[in-house]
């Protein structure tokens, strides 16, 4: 899904609050205009930012994984040199607002030491083991170098942390066929054409799994090549030659693997949806299924899992306390429930030849539908809610009177309600002129793609508003916040408590809204 207007404004706001206004101008320029060279950025960025400053900012944004450099191979026979271009990574910028969610995922799975190491990587963007150890030495709660090394190893093994991608992948020029373009890619991927330039760049920059998630602590391992300016893209083509143990300057640089972290959040959201819509038992079965199929998932936005047998699901289930309470018969009943369809819920699991497949798309679509319908309900009322649900169900153009009949709404009021939703982009409308009828028929439809895009744009806007309002509340109580809490009494204490309540409400609302944004953008 392409970025929306408020998506850009929100991303720029995040960059402004984390890195200042100059960095945000460079970032906005890239988000609005697409890939640019550093010279083009210094020419096009609104305010006067000289070339060397632009370069510094680009390095800063690359360090924090918000920008990726790349170049396009010049056409055969051309003597011109490939120019380095930069692209803003919109999703990674948005991830900055959800670092505590990532940290929580790691804390739950690998414990506090690992989440501490991940926090270091999240706040610094990318670090070497040496730098992580130095950072620990300066902190109050020291973990020790061994613990950091172990935690990093666990994080890499669980794929929460990855080796940094190639700093400047070279893309084949557009005339070339896909096979020539990706010389270093895995054989299975050779004939698969990536959809967009962003995806092509990211795919070209990502090293193969053995280099991306190496067994770093096996000395002399060929997969422990250090990161310099070229060896990762090269690494796709040839065997690495430099050993990790050759010295700190040649050390491997690590960064958080957002793909895996988002996958875990997606799985958590799926389990939560199943728990809400079915029951605890079904949620436990779903959790086990996700665990079984996880290693086979190629990308975070997979539509369907691999098929899995009843035996493998049960084997995974009994590893947990809650799962051990379930008999195989109960698990079978849960799978039957998960495969059932109704007007209320689609099938979450597809059964085929005795194996079971998790239908991620249908689970996520249920939560997306909830989000859309609850906005329609609150903004336009119960009648509109019925009309919207009817049109979503029909998934075709329907005439005004038919909608009124199905939704049992007053025929005179129906066009006004539909028009309101149409004006806000929640409905699609077409006029149909019929010979012999004076007034043209109005036909209406819910276009899920357009509605999702509209909702997402409004949610970015709302998230920005929550953040701006919190800043406003903090600014208006700036002086009060400087006073120590224990010295406050009476009206001042009351004001301080009110500020705290507002701040908690705004922060938690933004946190929950971000879950909804992920439903539409990342899942």
């Amino acid at each position: 899904m392409t970025t929306t207007e408020f998506g850009i404004v929100y991303a720029v706001h995040i960059i402004t609050s984390h890195f200042g206004s100059v960095a945000s101008k460079v970032c906005e320029c890239l988000l609005r205009r697409g890939p640019l060279s550093s010279r083009e950025i210094s020419r096009l960025a609104e305010s006067d930012i000289n070339h060397s400053k632009v370069k510094d900012i680009l390095y800063l944004l690359i360090q924090h994984n918000c920008v990726q450099a790349f170049s396009i191979e010049p056409p055969d026979g051309s003597e011109s040199k490939a120019t380095v271009q930069y692209i803003a990574l919109f999703s990674n910028i948005l991830h900055r607002a959800r670092y505590n969610k990532f940290s929580k995922v790691v804390n739950e799975e690998l414990g506090s030491q690992c989440s501490g190491v991940l926090d270091g990587l999240l706040s610094n963007g990318r670090l070497t083991l040496e730098q992580l150890i130095d950072r620990d030495r300066d902190s109050k709660k020291q973990m020790g170098s061994e613990a950091i090394r172990d935690s990093l190893q666990k994080l890499v093994a669980a794929r929460f942390v990855e080796r940094v991608p190639s700093p400047e992948p070279v893309l084949g020029n557009k005339d070339e066929g896909p096979a020539q373009k990706k010389r270093g890619a895995k054989p299975s991927k050779i004939f698969k054409e990536p959809e967009s330039l962003d995806e092509r760049i990211l795919e070209a920059a990502t090293p193969v799994d053995a280099i991306r998630f190496p067994f770093i602590f096996e000395q002399g391992s060929s997969s422990t090549v250090a990161d310099d300016d070229s060896n990762i893209s090269e690494g796709k083509r040839k065997q690495p030659e430099v050993d990790y143990t050759s010295g700190p300057s040649n050390e491997v640089i690590w960064r958080p693997n957002f793909e895996e972290l988002i996958r875990r959040l997606r799985h958590k959201a799926c389990v939560e949806i199943v728990k809400e819509r079915r029951d605890e038992g079904c949620a436990n079965v779903m959790k086990a299924m996700l665990e079984v199929g996880r290693s086979q998932e190629k990308k975070a936005k997979t539509d369907k899992s691999v098929p899995m047998s009843m035996g493998s699901i049960y084997e995974e289930l009994i590893k947990t306390d809650a799962g051990r309470e379930m008999t195989q018969e109960r698990v079978e009943a849960c799978l039957e429930q998960l495969s059932a369809t109704s007007s209320y819920l689609p099938a979450f699991v597809i059964e085929s030849d005795g194996s079971y497949i998790v239908d991620f798309k249908s689970i996520i679509s249920v939560a997306q539908k909830d989000e859309m319908e609850s906005v329609v309900m609150r903004r336009y009322g119960k009648e509109a809610f019925r009309m919207f649900r009817y049109l979503s169900q029909e998934d075709r153009f329907v005439e005004t009177d038919k909608i009124a009949d199905a939704a049992l709404t007053e025929k005179k009021d129906t066009p006004q309600i539909l028009l309101k939703m149409w004006k806000d982009g929640y409905l699609h409308m077409q006029k149909l002129a019929v010979t012999g009828v004076y007034i043209p028929f109005l036909l209406w439809k819910v276009n899920k793609l357009i509605v999702s895009r509209q909702m997402l744009d409004e949610m970015y806007h709302a998230s920005l508003n929550l953040s701006l309002r919190l800043t406003h509340e903090t600014d208006s109580e700036k002086e009060l916040l400087l006073l120590p809490m224990e010295k406050l009494e009476g009206a001042l204490k009351e004001r301080r408590n009110k500020y705290r309540a507002k701040s908690v409400l705004l922060t938690s609302a933004r946190f929950k809204l971000d879950d909804a944004i992920m439903l539409f953008h990342d899942f």
Binding site: E276, R379, E410, A462, R469, L513, A516
Partner: protein, 231 residues
């Protein structure tokens, strides 16, 4: 200026009606309870609109036709016909207005039936038979009317429609036969979550399209935020 009058339209000697009026009356009568709009009369009789207006006024004065207004405009009906259901709005309309209170009553009855029979598989027939036993005549719904009420409850997200899949729970039903079940806590099942976006002021705001960080409508000046954060 000439004062010459236009020649009068030829009048039928027997009924005192002009040829146009006769033709229009015939057309309106042919439409029975549905009647015809001025536009339809013009198109159906090939008489100019001005003459149609004149003729319908005259026919109305002579009490040969009557006028019924609905959403689609004015319909002319011959006096001997009553407006049909479509013209009145349908089953659920009384005097041209939707009978909302009756619809709500009927929905409540359906919910009560489903709540009472929540351990059983409730099909359309079961609910129809309950309505047939109703004490009030207006609650004695036909099968089609009952289905409309149930479909409306599905759209309200209060009940769900389930298709039998031949499992033990549906042993009494044919595969593919539909039955109804309450949604949410009342049925002991799960419930749709409250939307995160809908539960903040921006989700319900009709002016979100006009809101900008530094504009006249902004999160710092927003009255909805003021109300929401008023502790």
């Amino acid at each position: 200026m000439s004062t010459r009058r236009r020649p009068a339209a030829p009048r039928s000697s027997s009924s005192g009606m002009t040829e146009n009026e006769k033709k229009i009356l015939g057309f309106i009568r042919s439409k029975q309870g549905m009647g015809a709009t001025k536009y339809e009369i013009t198109a159906g009789t090939s008489i100019q609109q001005a003459l149609v207006t004149k003729a319908t006024t005259s026919l109305k004065k002579s009490k040969l036709i009557k006028e019924v207004s609905n959403k689609g405009g004015k319909h002319f009906l011959a006096v001997e016909f009553e407006p049909c259901k479509e013209l009145q709005g349908g089953d659920w309309y009384v005097d041209g207005a939707l009978d909302v209170s009756m619809i709500e009553d009927l929905k409540e009855i359906c919910v009560n039936i489903l709540e009472r029979l929540k351990q059983k598989v409730v099909t359309l027939e079961v609910i129809c038979s309950c309505f047939q036993k109703a004490s009030r005549d207006e609650y004695k719904l036909s099968r089609d009317q009952t289905k409309v009420i149930l479909d409306n409850l599905v759209l309200d997200n209060v009940i769900m429609e389930v298709k039998s899949n031949g499992s033990s729970e549906h042993s009494a039903l044919r595969i593919g036969e539909v039955w109804y079940k309450l949604i949410g806590k009342k049925s002991g099942g799960g419930e749709a979550r409250d939307g995160a976006f809908a539960s903040i002021p921006c989700g319900a705001c009709p002016h979100i399209g006009l809101c900008t960080p530094d504009g006249a409508i902004s999160p710092t000046t927003c009255v909805y935020y003021q109300k929401w954060l008023d502790f």
